[in-house]
């Protein structure tokens, strides 16, 4: 099963001195995964995230000169329109924003394949990770003191936020919009000018193809997992009227 983009959420910058932020994100499909970026305006601050009340895993985080960016992950999120909540400690009020993206066709494990972070002051942003498994996608985000990015770079599709001149979240979420090879792979963006930026990235795996056998039943074709003595296998089943 191939990974596919499902939906985006977030997409609005809050200028208040706050500690928590909530937006709606609608998830659908099978073998689901949801990611969220979050930005806190004070370096060193921690952040947590929940989706429909379920805690998301902090996958990556890195600080810039003024702010810190986080990437959160949740496998098998609930379907439907549910709320994503970012929360900082009560003593750490400041500007916050974030964006979210969900995907179908993702392997349902408890961790991502790999992750990485980067920060620098330059006109181009690139954050890389060493991809381990085949058929992974990259997902990540960047926050820049320039207020957003000018354009996506090679192999990068921004789903929500961060473009200069719009009113959306200044912390984007982007992906590779396709499988990447194993080894070092990156997401890339271009800034309008040289400025401080900080970025996070993770790779996540495609759901394995199901080992299902075609079975001829009395009323048509059905699929089933066949348990053998040494695991799950594709099997030929002899039925009452032949091989199916």
């Amino acid at each position: 099963m191939a990974i596919a983009f499902d939906a985006k959420g977030g997409n609005f910058t809050n200028t208040g001195t706050i500690t928590t932020l909530t937006w709606s994100h609608t998830v659908s499909g099978s073998d689901r995964i949801i990611f969220s970026t979050g930005r806190a305006s004070n370096t060193g601050n921690d952040m947590t995230a929940t989706y429909n009340g379920v805690s998301m895993t902090k996958t990556a985080t890195v600080a810039g000169t003024n702010d810190r960016i986080f990437l959160f992950t949740l496998h098998a999120p609930a379907t439907g329109a549910n709320n994503l909540v970012l929360t900082k400690p009560s003593f750490a009020a400041g500007q916050m924003d974030g964006s979210s993206a969900s995907y179908t066709g993702a392997k349902q494990t408890s961790t991502v394949d790999s992750s990485g972070t980067a920060t620098a002051t330059s006109a181009s942003c690139s954050v890389s990770t060493t991809v381990v498994a085949s058929n992974c996608w990259l997902v990540g985000g960047v926050r820049t003191n320039a207020g957003g990015v000018s354009s996506d770079g090679s192999g990068t599709t921004t789903r929500s936020g961060a473009f200069i001149g719009d009113t959306s979240s200044q912390t984007c979420i982007s992906d590779s919009n396709g499988n990447v090879s194993t080894g070092s792979q990156s997401l890339n963006w271009t800034l309008p000018e040289s400025n401080n930026w900080y970025a996070v990235v993770a790779s996540f795996e495609t759901a394995p193809a199901s080992n299902l056998a075609n079975l001829k039943t009395l009323d048509g074709i059905a699929k089933a997992n066949i348990k053998t003595i040494n695991g799950v296998a594709i099997a030929s089943i002899k039925t009452y009227d032949g091989i199916a």
Partner: protein
């Protein structure tokens, strides 16, 4: 570098719903209670999300906001306020928000 700040009086924590007009991008906000905000984040809490207000679509809610005595209750750029626990929250243009001790602000100036 010392930055001159304007002091604002602390009013407390605020919880707000944000609505945006998709055409004009204008944003309005409406205050809610802490309880109304927190229940939105619970399992199935989306049923408590605010309804759209005419042409304005609900985009986000936020909480724990440091509210001060400005028309919008927000801490503006180059402003600071003292909270009851003795902390100082400030918003410096180009640097963003920060938190410090009361002694960090001398004659309404802070070293950044």
């Amino acid at each position: 570098m010392k930055i001159k700040l304007t002091k604002r009086n602390y009013l407390g924590e605020g919880y707000w719903h944000y609505f945006q007009n998709p055409q004009t991008k204008e944003v309005i906000r409406e205050e809610c209670t802490k309880e109304e905000y927190l229940r939105m984040g619970e399992k199935g809490g989306a049923k408590y999300n605010p309804k759209n207000k005419g042409d304005f679509v609900w985009v986000q809610s936020s909480g724990g906001e440091i509210n001060v005595d400005t028309p919008t209750k927000e801490l503006g750029e180059n402003e600071y306020t003292e909270t009851p626990d003795g902390s100082v929250f400030f918003n410096v243009k180009g640097k963003g928000h920060g938190r410090g001790k009361k002694e960090d602000v001398v004659n309404d100036k802070i070293e950044i």
